[in-house]
Symmetry: C2
Subunit: 344 residues, 2 copies
DNA sequence: CTGAAAGCGCTTACAG
DNA sequence: CTGAAAGCGCTTACAG
């Protein structure tokens, strides 16, 4: 059963395709009687406009692309949900691609989306991405682009982020306020802006409190994907290297949970022996034992906001208005739980 | 900067659009010299075929739609990952929609995907879906459709599932084997086939072991979304109603984790006072305390398999071959952990 | 080996 | 109020 076309409706009613098209779109210059006839027939025949033809004419696909490093991930899946729900409200569909933290894949995926002529692109960068030509290409083609969470400051487009530095500062300050004297940091991968900023926030908090900054307390992950296993390994290493550490600020909850699992196994008491603050507020963190103090990162809101900004730019470009890039910074919260001591 | 078209390339080289098109697609009836010229220019101009035009001609979009009840969910996000990765291999893009367990939304989304002319649809049903006209419509339009995980047996299309009944049987048998005498079941929502089958597996295991089946031990969730809170509430209720229960088979890990949180709070020892088996093997379950015995449900594989089947049907239909519907049943595993006793 | 022409299903400026 | 016509950017059967 082939889909119904305007032409078929026109022939049925013995009128022109033009009139059918106008009637369905409620053009004012079609008689009410004709409109009614057309609409009724369209309904009974279950007419759906052929999106390809419409797109080809209007140059709009009502579809956007989303590139994200990982999908099976509490924060990112929340972002996806925020984007999709907002897109749906505006009649947009979302094509989702996973870069797997690979720059090469990310590049290919940008190409794919560009040739599919999406109306705009939302992206959170792979850890491996250090070259931004593929993104500049998008911008050069005048295609709206909004980055979120894992961004590159140097790329000229709108960005939706949190203030990683400030949040990390607050996290570290909380460890200090609750009595920690020697605080380590698991910082994850080297490249991403978030890791850098969280590290800087950690460092600044130490210095502002007249505590020495000791680079040997900062654990970097060479592996590239921040994970449970990484947390375990770092925790093991830390116990070997530094028996005086009494607090850790960890880049991501999942890594923190890995570390906590190791500490639990080795009988290290939290928060008494070592206090821990994570980052992201994964659902899991409220459920493990001890529950994890962490920074709540508003994934759903970030997704929503990123889509809204993209939508705004799509409209601006369509109406030939100047496109205004924005940096939008969302608030975060420190969620105090059992993995840190209460203020004495 | 407008995207480059075939026409522009043709004019540059003073040849016809036809030849350019053929050259780019390596038709045998174009001279090597011309091919080389065209390809080179296409590359320097960064030519990308206009997908809309191609789709309009070929009636293929190389895009499929995916409707899923929830995204922020370990099992479903794994499925998404499986689908996307497999789709990418075959050059397909995936549009993702979240039905939020709502039949109304699901219906609208099917419509949306149909008018966007996707090449096929992958769906896992909302709990609220009891009417299947929207799906039969898809089938009537000859659009390939594959259901996975949350399916309706009555709809005539391919399905990718696990043997819920068998898995539930094994889970319950494990409780029995490890000494449980009175076993409750948290079954989640009423409608979905999975809930029904898991319930039936639970019941059969009891009966096969000459244990009485007591309906008051089966907790149904009226709410419609199976969640952490539901587990907590059910656990509270269970403690009030039945102080003799020593084992529970729970429909979903997240609910199990809710129940465990409540038991931990109330000092109920697991597995000694009450042993617990969940379902799905969420990552979280290996990390909480006690770690949760559960049924491993292969989300990634299910996604992969569902796409493969859809792809096969897309090809069959394209080549006017008869389409063969398949029911594919994937294996599950019982993962034994701390929330159940070891066999004595 | 090359190209003119038709057509996919729409939208819209224009004429009547 | 209605409709003929052009065109979006491709593909492909056909002619030469």
């Amino acid at each position: 059963m082939k889909p119904v076309t305007l032409k078929q409706i026109a022939e049925h009613l013995n009128i022109s395709v033009t009139t059918v098209s106008k009637a369905l779109k409620d053009y004012p210059d079609v008689s009410p009687k004709t409109k009614a006839l057309v609409k009724e027939l369209a309904k009974t025949l279950n007419y759906k406009p052929n999106a390809f033809a419409v797109n080809l004419r209007t140059k709009e696909s009502k579809t956007i692309g989303l590139i994200i490093p990982v999908i099976v991930h509490h924060f990112f899946s929340s972002v996806i949900k925020g984007i999709i729900s907002q897109a749906e409200k505006k009649g947009y569909l979302v094509i989702i691609l996973q870069s797997n933290e690979s720059y090469e894949l990310e590049k290919k995926q940008i190409d794919l989306l560009m040739s599919h002529r999406v109306d705009g692109i939302l992206i959170s960068l792979a850890n491996g991405t250090a070259n931004f030509n593929h993104l500049n290409e998008v911008i050069a083609q005048d295609k709206p682009l909004v980055m979120f969470d894992k961004i590159a400051k140097i790329v000229k487009c709108s960005k939706v982020i949190i203030d990683d530095r400030k949040a990390a500062y607050i996290a570290t300050q909380h460890l200090i306020d609750t009595g920690c004297k020697r605080i380590a940091h698991f910082r994850g991968a080297l490249l991403p802006q978030n890791s850098i900023d969280r590290f800087l926030g950690y460092k600044k908090a130490l210095l502002d409190n007249n505590m020495p900054y000791d680079p040997s307390l900062v654990y970097i992950c060479e592996c590239g994907d921040m994970s449970f296993e990484e947390g375990k390994k770092n925790a093991q290493q830390l116990l070997k290297d530094h028996n005086d550490v009494d607090g850790i600020f960890i880049n991501t909850d999942l890594v923190a949970i890995g570390a906590m699992t190791e500490f639990n196994k080795q009988g290290v008491k939290m928060p008494d022996d070592i206090a821990i603050v994570g980052f992201s507020n994964w659902f899991m963190s409220s459920v493990i034992s001890p529950t994890l103090t962490t920074i709540d990162q508003p994934g759903y809101l970030m997704g929503k906001t990123a889509f809204k900004q993209l939508y705004k730019e799509i409209k601006q470009r369509k109406n030939n208005k100047p496109v205004v890039f924005k940096d939008i910074v969302l608030d975060t919260d420190l969620v105090k739980r059992e993995s840190t001591k209460t203020v004495s």
